[in-house]
Symmetry: C2
Subunit: 349 residues, 2 copies
């Protein structure tokens, strides 16, 4: 099992965890108020197909309920999609979130990697990708957009040649948009009728509630039906289903979050850029990938932990090595502490 | 997908749902207090392996953490076990909960049924079962104990010959003890070191919190490791993990629940026995299977729904037909309303 998902070491010490993002606005108070009232309703089963929540989300996204599937976090839907499609071959754009490979491997798929490179700032060479698809003939192509951990984003028009090739190939694009709320750019959501796309979304990243487990998928009715055919019942707890309406309606929280991340990302990007010992990559996510010029991720992690800061090393990402680390965007105070600690650390080395 | 899990029809009408059990004590107030304080902690991911909760449960059950696995409800663990063991053949004792067949089928297993019969009050003919195991050679035998929907229970000493045969056969007993808290009889929990048993438990049935999704499995470390190897990360939400300690410590609620079910089951059994048009089977669960002598489940369901009562028909259970229905044990008032409605209904027919 993956060992990430934040720092779970000694709870006595006050470690600032830069391996996961924490929305500094905290859990929306509208949601806390709602869930407080729902606790006594835990006595009933979750609505089995999440029908009510699907209708609410469908109306909000302007999609039919048959184009929506809820998951116990986005993670359930990665594994469910892999099992539903049973792809003989899966092509994953790397480096990226490690659960895709595990999920498709466990479903019996042969895994192929299409690498993006540091020298291109991890952008896709589309011609090379199309050539790979022709050669490999994968049933599924996996793209995280914005990508974790590189922060790279492709706009719908940039993805058109890929989508066309996938359609002609009678295969699927699995596109993880879990971090889409952290960019101002556009989703492929309006293309799901035209192309065989499965879009993965997280409702818990933007709203700072990963403990609740709530994700959803979007696709044409045929794709969603394939997933529903093998879905396990009652996977989404009642509180998560009840949260959907409250979260959608809390536009203030959403807008404040977007605004705050936009300015805080600019601040952190600028400050990290000023540190000579690291190279920072621009990011459409709520995190930054950095390359260490004179130390290893392992050493930096150890040194920063002594200063009360926990970071994500990247050696386990396919196509990265221990010279890369990832920093989440946290509160101003915490970000300043990170910058300060990095400066102090490199000064001492 | 299974379509059960309670009544989700017109919410405007006040339907009493006898298809699912509702602990009339409601959600434990100790839990509501605890979870109210935990809502703001939804901002962090659930502890990925549920380590803290496992230590608490392990201490309570006197088992090692390596012998415990948590699930997003017991349901996750049915599917996970099926995928982990990849049994070429699975033998299911019928009639029983329909998810076992679906889970093992989806994992690619060939399904065999061993039937128990009304004329034996759905007890197992152990000699016949052992003969079947020898003939079929299943990798997994599935038993629900107490069984849903028949209410039949087997004590550990009665299961010894079965366990011995399974051990010699190098196969597994999957035993669902989700309803064990509703009987005074003993679990097989002390046999998990001696035999290849996987015990499934629900923490939400006794405590009336199916909306929260919390189950666990017990087995020897080798079995649990097999499941952990393919488990999806973060499946159990933070609130469910935090609930473990509070539920275990709330002995008052547990004892009151046991005491109340014991006396209420006696009441309902006696009252249902007095109705000539149905035959009731004794039950170690918190529900009763009944056979209708002069009508179908479909008709009775329709007629009772007109009286504001929703019941579980049983035609979809392997080995039962539409002459069977299942009634949950609910509050005294509600049980009286059921009895009254049944009497009125049969009077009119």
């Amino acid at each position: 099992m993956n060992k990430h998902g934040g720092y779970f070491g000694n709870k006595e010490t006050n470690i600032i965890d830069f391996s996961v993002n924490i929305n500094p606005l905290g859990v929306p108070s509208s949601l806390i108020n709602k869930l407080e009232k729902e606790l006594s309703n835990l006595i009933t089963y979750p609505e089995i197909d999440g029908k009510t929540a699907k209708e609410i989300l469908g109306k909000y996204l302007n999609k039919k309920t048959e184009q929506i599937i809820f998951g116990n976090g986005a993670t359930e839907l990665i594994y469910l999609f892999a099992r539903a499609i049973k792809a003989p071959k899966t092509l994953i754009l790397q480096p990226t979130f490690t659960e895709y490979e595990r999920a498709f491997k466990l479903s019996g798929s042969n895994i192929y990697h299409f690498y993006t490179y540091e020298e291109n700032n991890f952008y896709i060479n589309m011609d090379e990708l199309l050539k790979s698809i022709k050669e490999i003939n994968p049933k599924v192509v996996v793209l995280c957009n914005p990508n974790n951990p590189t922060g790279v984003f492709f706009e719908p028009h940039e993805l058109r040649p890929l989508l066309q090739a996938i359609k002609e190939n009678n295969s699927y694009l699995f596109i993880d948009e879990s971090f889409i709320d952290f960019t101002e750019k556009s989703s492929v959501i309006n293309l799901i009728d035209e192309y065989p796309i499965f879009i993965l979304r997280s409702m818990t990243k933007t709203y700072g509630i990963p403990g609740l487990r709530l994700g959803y998928g979007l696709g044409n009715t045929e794709i969603i039906q394939k997933l529903n055919d093998i879905k396990e019942p009652w996977t989404i707890n009642s509180l998560a289903l009840k949260a959907v309406e409250t979260l959608i309606e809390d536009e203030d929280y959403y807008n404040q979050t977007k605004k705050w991340y936009k300015s805080e990302k600019e601040f952190l990007l600028k400050q990290l850029s000023l540190i000579n010992d690291i190279k920072i990559f621009s990011s459409e996510g709520n995190f930054f990938l950095c390359k260490l010029k004179n130390t290893t991720g392992k050493d930096l992690k150890k040194n920063l932990l002594d200063r009360g800061i926990y970071i994500r090393t990247c050696a386990d990402f396919e196509g990265l090595d221990d010279s890369f680390v990832r920093f989440a965007v946290r509160s101003r105070n915490e970000n300043e502490k990170l910058i300060h600690s990095l400066i102090e650390n490199f000064k001492e080395e």
